[in-house]
């Protein structure tokens, strides 16, 4: 770490309601991943506070945070963060292991999550035996396997061709319709179009926070998405 203090985020104030579908955009280095880490209870702000379900995260202890990360949040990392020595199935099983799901049920859940992202025939491959897009899909399957109420995805389609990318986005749309909160970091406008709300960061500040263009022009139509009201 250098001697200069870097403020990855400053003066960010936002409120995301339950069941919202939010896209976060901004140039590289603008603080998107940093914001995701805060929202995912991995990091705590050096200043200011973050309330999750009306609870100040700073007051929670390590175990409680671990439990929230395990049960409430599905995190798709920008760099996947898969265990290199474990195969796809075991990687997807991991959250279930830490939440104590018994082996048989766990296997079944992990298999079906992998099948959802089209990887049923790659279950026993290790990350280094998978393509970039396949790794991304394993990461997505792992994030979704525990049925989290909040899905945080950092560039989830960055390594996917447009067709697989669309499939993943359709999956997110489906989850959104079921009432899950979805926050997606992206730099592609087409991806952001799936979200109801778009937040644009620049140098650690919120530059724009607005309803998606589709909802401004025609709030009731748009690809079968029926977003809940903003809190």
């Amino acid at each position: 770490m250098g001697s200069e203090v870097v403020h990855a985020l400053r003066g960010v104030s936002l409120d995301i309601g339950k069941g919202e579908y939010v896209a976060i955009m901004g140039p590289s280095g603008s603080g998107k991943s940093t914001l995701m880490n805060l929202l995912g209870c991995l990091d705590t702000p050096s200043e200011g506070e973050f309330l999750l379900n009306d609870k100040n995260v700073a007051t929670l202890n390590d175990n409680q945070l671990a439990e929230i990360r395990n049960r409430e949040i599905g995190f798709v990392f920008q760099s996947f963060n898969l265990l290199p020595r474990s195969d796809a199935l075991h990687n997807v099983e991991l959250p279930l292991i830490y939440s104590g799901v018994a082996k048989g049920e766990r296997r079944e859940m992990a298999r079906s999550a992998l099948a959802h992202v089209g990887l049923e025939n790659r279950m026993h491959h290790r990350p280094n035996e998978l393509s970039g897009g396949q790794r991304q899909r394993v990461a997505i399957a792992r994030a979704l396997v525990n049925n989290p109420s909040i899905v945080l995805a950092d560039e989830p389609t960055g390594n996917l061709d447009s067709r697989t990318g669309e499939e993943i986005l359709a999956l997110f749309d489906q989850l959104s319709r079921k009432g899950n909160t979805i926050i997606v970091v992206t730099h592609e406008e087409e991806v952001a179009l799936h979200a109801r709300r778009v937040i644009r960061l620049r140098d650690g500040l919120i530059a724009v926070d607005e309803l998606n263009i589709r909802y401004r022009t025609a709030p009731t139509v748009g690809g079968g998405i029926s977003p809940p009201p903003i809190a």
Partner: protein
């Protein structure tokens, strides 16, 4: 609570980590291996010593007092005690007559000599002079024939009783009874054979003996034999009283002025017991010192390797924590890894120690016992847990974001 699925995962990770680093882990376990080898060898040796001792001590008898010129295992100044007068036969007769707390009194003398039969010759045989009462006092049993009669003792007949080993050696396919063997060119007729007695814990073969009437000693072998008077007491709980009585009798018989020290010693089994305790204690102290030193050094090595392991897997720790692993899961993961390394070291140590105990077994009946194996394994696992604690603690307290950033 840690669930079973998590426990399973913990073991799988630890085993995978070990398999990935067999050589590295193997080298660092050397200290622990040495520690376990010493602790098992020490335990086996003490155990063997104990067994041998228990058996030998029985031949001395806990209810027996030995009146002799010198005290066993004493620090008496040799220049002072070497001129003590020998015990005489008359002393023994008087003790037998006067001691009220004695059940039986025997007079003995012995030396090492050569025994021959026909053309067979046995050197270094334990030649004992006994009385008719010695069979009771010494607690012997007869395998063949009989013991001496009082008449044979008082008339100093040329009869003998053979130790089992000597009998086998001279008379492999026939009964020795009635044959004559020679001790220092004097012939003795064999009237009995003693049951097998075994080896004294000093390594002395007690079956390589021949017993003759003690009354023959003076004429046949020595000018003034050094007799010892052995007293079996009536009541073992009054051993101290019996000793005091004997002391009084002996002082009177030997005309020792009040205030002057005894010129004899009354020994008992306890002296051996104390000596044995001292030997066992020394072995234990030295063994424990080497053990703890090597376990300490080994533990430092394990701690080091665990630090390396934690550093190498920082990213993995970050991933696990990000996904919901709690501190205790990470802590347990690394503790199990360290404990498994030292457990293997312990098993290796036992495998190394095993053939060495067989070597010890050549000298005394010593076997590696199951409880010793269990203790050794427990100690090795404990070493791993203690040595691995700080690295594991550090791993469990890593910040997830920081850890994820590691390569």
């Amino acid at each position: 609570m840690i669930t079973t699925s998590e426990l399973r995962e913990t073991f799988l990770i630890a085993v995978a980590a070990l398999r990935a680093n067999v050589l590295r882990s193997g080298l660092t376990t050397l200290g622990v291996v040495i520690g376990i080898v010493t602790v098992t060898l020490m335990g086996t040796a003490i155990n063997g010593l104990n067994n041998a001792f228990q058996k030998s001590i029985a031949t001395l008898g806990s209810d027996t007092l030995f009146i002799q010129r010198f005290a066993w295992f004493s620090n008496d100044d040799w220049r002072v005690v070497r001129n003590r007068r020998p015990m005489t036969m008359q002393n023994a007769r008087d003790v037998e007559r006067m001691a009220t707390l004695a059940a039986a009194v025997s007079v003995e003398s012995n030396f090492g000599g050569t025994v021959t039969y026909d053309k067979k010759k046995a050197r270094g045989v334990w030649i004992m002079g006994n009385t008719d009462r010695s069979i009771d006092v010494r607690g012997l049993s007869i395998a063949k024939g009989r013991w001496f009669s009082p008449a044979e003792i008082s008339s100093a007949r040329n009869v003998c009783v053979l130790g089992n080993y000597l009998a086998e050696r001279f008379f492999p396919n026939q009964s020795p009874l009635g044959h004559r063997v020679k001790v220092n060119e004097i012939q003795y007729e064999v009237v009995g054979v003693i049951d097998k007695m075994g080896t004294f814990f000093t390594g002395f073969n007690m079956d390589n003996q021949i017993v003759i009437p003690v009354t023959r000693f003076e004429g046949d072998f020595q000018e003034r034999p050094d007799y010892q008077i052995i007293v079996k007491v009536k009541d073992v709980t009054r051993l101290d009283d019996a000793e005091e009585e004997l002391r009084g009798i002996m002082r009177k018989l030997r005309r020792i002025e009040p205030g002057l020290p005894d010129d004899f010693a009354i020994n008992r089994q306890e002296a051996f017991l104390n000596f044995f305790r001292a030997v066992g204690g020394t072995i234990a102290a030295v063994g424990l010192f080497i053990t703890s030193l090597s376990l300490f050094v080994g533990g430092i090595g394990i701690m080091n390797i665990m630090f390396v392991s934690v550093a190498e897997r920082t990213k993995e720790i970050g991933i696990r924590k990000a996904i919901g692993a709690k501190r205790r899961s990470i802590l347990l993961q690394f503790l199990v890894e360290a404990a498994l390394i030292t457990l293997f070291a312990g098993i290796l140590g036992i495998l190394v120690a095993w053939p060495l105990t067989l070597v010890i077994n050549q000298f005394m009946a010593a076997q590696m016992s199951w409880w010793l194996v269990a203790i050794a394994l427990l100690v090795s696992v404990l070493t791993g847990v203690i040595a691995g604690f700080i690295p594991a603690w550090r791993a469990s307290n890593l910040d997830p974001v920081e850890a994820l950033r590691a390569e």
